[in-house]
Amino acid sequence: MGISIELEVNGASVSKEVEPRLLLAHLLREELGLTGTKIGCDTSQCGSCTILLDGQAVKSCTVLAVQADGSEITTIEGLANGEYHPVQQAFWDNHGLQCGFCTPGMIISCVDLLGTNPQPSEDEIRHGLEGNLCRCTGYHNIVRAVQDAAETMNG
């Protein structure tokens, strides 16, 4: 009953035989040990499981592992390349996180947001993050972090 899939995760080739119903989030966490991707809900609201699938931010709890066959995936573990990604750095510098649980998904969404809109207004940032919930920060410092990262990336 297993289905063979091949994909690239954080630059490494992965071949797996998976149950058809296995969620991509569970493939990453349980089978590949990439627990940086979090699961915070069961209705696709919270965004904690957000990853980049072929460069696009998606909620990995809403993608079947078999649907990711042949794709390239970047998780929070694959974002830093020798040094922190500017978005990671900006989250640290601006106290854009507290408990850290939403942070991997939030950072990935911010990377996607700045990829499509390099100079977002505050309003565009707030609406751009509507798929990611944070209960600790009130989003105030997350918005500052995105503004800071945008400045760095445009600089």
Binding site: E19, R21, L22, R29, G33, L34, T35, G36, T37, K38, I39, G40, C41, D42, T43, Q45, C46, S48, T75, I76, E77, L79, A80, Y84, Q88, F91, W92, D93, H95, L97, Q98, C99, G100, F101, C102, T103, P104, I107, E122, D123, I125, R126, H127, L129, E130, N132, L133, C134, R135, C136, T137, G138, Y139, H140, N141, I142, V143
Partner: protein, 786 residues
């Protein structure tokens, strides 16, 4: 950005958090991220009915499913010989305490009550098996509204609690208060529903239990704010294992807001299942499951009145509250609507007569317990809404009526009529700063001009106080707590001068590792980088009471400061011996001991530490090594205060409320890390604004939870909120070594009243006196049009 370095200047600096590199890279491990070899997975079948008799359970199909290891019910737990209880930890006089077990025995009392346990080889199978358990329920009527639950004929949650009343509690002087109302020139009166909330820490609760049947030791990794409390309750009430054989570890914990204080059945069930199966067992709640099991917050129905003289001076406050307890008494639930609520009724005001009466009421709902603020947001909402209503009925400006009634700055300590003694404060100072920043006088002109054009602007004040830094142990003991509330710390200076600090608090997003290191760096004069902070493991640190009630700086930080002081005292004795000087002649500056006037001949703390460990040349009677333990029991609560102001625009056509500005001027005493303090304020405000505009847990008439998923419950998103303006005044706490108060709950306590006061102010042309939370467009539209 301040440098992450050493010296006394570290205290008070916005140092970036040392916690963050692991969190921003996905390396940090939360409970569900942990893997132990041969782990089995546990799921829990939950009642679909608010109230039902269980006639029988057929688990045979589930048991036959490939991959299922076992299915258990309440009788299996009873047969195993463990106590199986889930106790309440705060006792009130004459309180009805119903039995509460890890699984429902023959009756379910809320949607979510646990009925059966599945243990399987993997989590998918464990969830599949739940669908194959057939429970023969005999459904009964349920009741969810705390006031209706007390009416004659309402369905009973527990037969031993007539009218569903768990306790009947009062504080203050009824006779004196009634007399104040008899003589009042004006009376303000409000009926208030404080809406039920679901905490929504982003990390769902989870447990990974590993019982070793050879040694009899249980290691329990779990999502906890207080590992030692969980160890104690699991030992005494749930599993009967000796306390010293249980090790509770809090790995990274993804938020709590109170919901991870309480002792629930689920973590004990995972541990019990590990004992039964001889394998590590993991349980992880789905989000929907957290909605059905994490203790909810608030849920009060209140009638409140304020008596005034002709000058708007408050003469009496009378409050009558029905507070939901839910189906069972959760860990600290009875304290929340009583000693954390009634005692706050004086607010910032010199109120000569107060009477507060509370019924704690059983309902067929998820149990209610402490949620960020716990009783104090409810009290502040009552007082601050009533103060605005008093301003309305007396025709006095809301800022002015507050000013007339504040406890004066020279009147501290101030003994209220409801037990608390406020230690310090300058309420007018915070109000003035806030009014100036927001431009209060100009706003009134702008508001009047806008109304001419059919635009409805409103401004709302909340001049709040809270009692936190829980708490003096003897005081809470006399009020019913079955726990102490002191805090522990160990400061261990190693032979090389590096330092490890252990705290009995247990952070879950507050940045303790950074803040506590700042305290120690300042106290010992050693580089900040040379100090590590460890929390959250009952196996490695002295007993502590955990993190909640804005206590971690005031009690945990004070314990650390006290332990550091003991270390310095001992080091001074050794340094004096090494320098052949009298102790009283030594100065201690930037980590160096030297004789006054001779700083070039110094013994540094690392020098002294090395000698302390070598122990070749110690003064007589001094033990080797250099570390100290402190158990700090505070003299009093701490009393943060401040003024929060919300500015809204209400659309009269649609009822939509736009929160345009939100300003917080808080006084939390001395500040260890301003960036972290601001972050706590932001998050607190967001949860309070969430309550006032968006969030509410909804039960239908049959006590079914309608807002049962994250799809149905409005956790605020980024675009629901504005940027926040924050400022401070500083009135140090006079009775702890750091002069700190607490900041974790201030925003949540202050903000609901500020927002609702602003909406009511905006609607004053329509004669609206009150709107219940959450202030949705529908409620506003109805208020305008009815």
């Amino acid at each position: 950005m301040a440098g992450e370095s050493n010296g006394a200047g570290v205290f008070g600096s916005s140092i970036r958090r040392r916690e963050d590199p692991e969190l921003i890279t996905g390396r940090a491990k939360y409970t569900d991220d942990l893997q132990l070899p041969n782990t089995a997975y546990c799921t829990i079948l939950r009642s679909d009915y608010a109230h039902a008799k269980i006639n029988g359970i057929d688990a045979s199909e589930a048991e036959a499913l490939d991959g299922v290891i076992a299915v258990y019910t309440a009788s299996d737990i009873a047969d195993s010989g463990v106590p199986g209880g889930i106790p309440v930890g705060w006792l009130l006089p004459d309180m009805v305490i119903p039995e509460h077990f890890m699984l429902a025995k023959d009756t379910t009392r809320y949607v979510g009550d646990g009925v059966a346990i599945v243990v399987a080889e993997d989590q998918y199978t464990a969830h599949d098996a739940l669908e194959l358990i057939y429970v023969d329920y005999d459904p009964r009527d349920g009741v969810a509204d705390p006031k209706k639950a007390t009416e004659d004929g309402a369905p009973l949650v527990h037969d031993e609690a007539p009218n569903n009343i768990a306790f009947d509690w009062e504080i203050g002087d009824k006779e004196m208060t009634d007399a104040a109302f008899a003589n009042a020139a004006h009376v303000a009166s409000l009926d208030i529903v404080n809406n039920r909330l679901i905490p929504n820490a982003m990390e769902p609760r989870a447990a990974l239990a590993d019982y070793n049947s050879i040694t009899g030791e249980l290691t329990l990794y779990m999502t906890t704010q207080n590992p030692h409390i969980h160890r104690l309750l699991i030992s005494l009430a749930s599993l009967g294992l000796p306390e010293h054989k249980i090790r509770v570890i809090a790995p990274e914990v993804g938020g709590g807001f109170g919901s991870k204080i309480h002792h629930y059945a689920d973590e004990a069930i995972a541990a019990w299942a590990s004992m039964q199966t001889g394998r590590p067992v993991k349980w992880t709640a789905t989000r929907t499951e957290t909605y059905l099991t994490d203790a909810h917050g608030r849920d009060h129905v209140t009638h409140a009145e304020m008596a005034m003289d002709a000058d708007g001076k408050f003469t009496g406050l009378r409050v009558d509250t029905y507070a939901a307890m839910g189906a069972y008494l959760s860990t600290f639930a009875p304290a929340v609507p009583t000693y954390l609520y009634g005692t706050l009724m004086s607010g910032e005001y010199d109120l000569p007569a107060i009477y507060c009466h509370v019924y704690g009421v059983f309902t067929h709902t998820v149990p209610v317990d402490a949620y960020r603020g716990a009783g104090r947001p409810e009290a502040t909402f009552v007082v601050e809404r009533l103060v605005d209503e008093a301003a309305r009925v007396s025709g006095i400006d809301p800022a002015e009526i507050r000013r007339r009634n504040f406890v004066a700055p020279d009147n501290f300590p101030f003994q209220t009529q409801v037990a608390l003694a406020y230690d310090s404060g300058n309420y007018e100072g915070a109000l003035d700063k806030a009014l100036e920043t927001i431009g209060y006088d100009d706003f009134r002109n702008e508001q009047a001009a806008a109304r001419e054009q059919g635009k409805y602007l409103g401004i709302g004040l909340s001049t709040y106080i809270e009692a936190c830094g829980l708490a003096p142990s003897a005081v809470v003991g006399s009020l019913g707590a079955q726990a102490g509330q002191w805090e522990s710390a160990v400061v261990r200076v190693h032979a090389t001068g590096k330092v490890t600090v252990y705290s009995g608090c247990s952070g879950h997003g507050q940045g303790h590792e950074t803040t506590y290191a700042q305290i120690v760096a300042s106290a010992l004069g050693v580089p900040y980088e040379d100090i590590d902070v460890i929390e959250g493991d009952s196996g490695v640190m002295p007993h502590g009471w955990g993190t909640y009630g804005s206590r971690s700086a005031a009690t945990g930080g004070s314990a650390i400061a006290s332990a550091a002081e003991k270390v310095v005292d001992k080091a001074r004795t050794i340094a004096a011996h090494l320098l052949e000087a009298a102790e009283e002649d030594l100065e201690f500056e930037d980590g160096n001991f030297f004789v006054k006037g001779s700083p070039d001949q110094a013994q540094s703390l690392p020098d002294v530490a090395l000698q302390a460990y070598l122990a070749h040349n110690l003064p007589k009677g001094i033990e080797p090594a250099l570390e100290a333990t402190s158990f700090y029991d505070p003299e009093n609560f701490v009393f943060p205060f401040g003024t929060h102001i919300a500015v809204v625009e209400v659309c009269a056509n649609t009822g939509h409320v736009e929160l345009q500005r939100y300003l917080a001027v808080d006084d939390v005493g001395n500040v260890i890390n301003p960036m972290i303090v601001d972050g706590q304020v932001h998050g607190g405000i967001a949860q309070g604004v969430g309550q006032s505009l968006y969030e509410t847990a909804v039960y239908d008439e049959g006590a079914n939870l309608l807002s049962g998923t994250m799809l149905d419950y409005a956790v605020p998103k980024a675009h629901f909120l504005p940027s926040f303006e924050t400022d401070r005044t500083v009135t140090p706490c006079p009775h702890n070594p750091l002069g700190v108060k607490g900041v974790g709950e201030a925003g949540t306590i202050a903000s609901p009243a500020a927002v609702v006061n602003a909406v009511v102010d905006a609607l004053s042309p329509f004669g609206v006196a009150h709107i219940d939370m959450p202030v949705t467009s529908e409620k506003v539209w109805n208020a305008i049009n009815n």
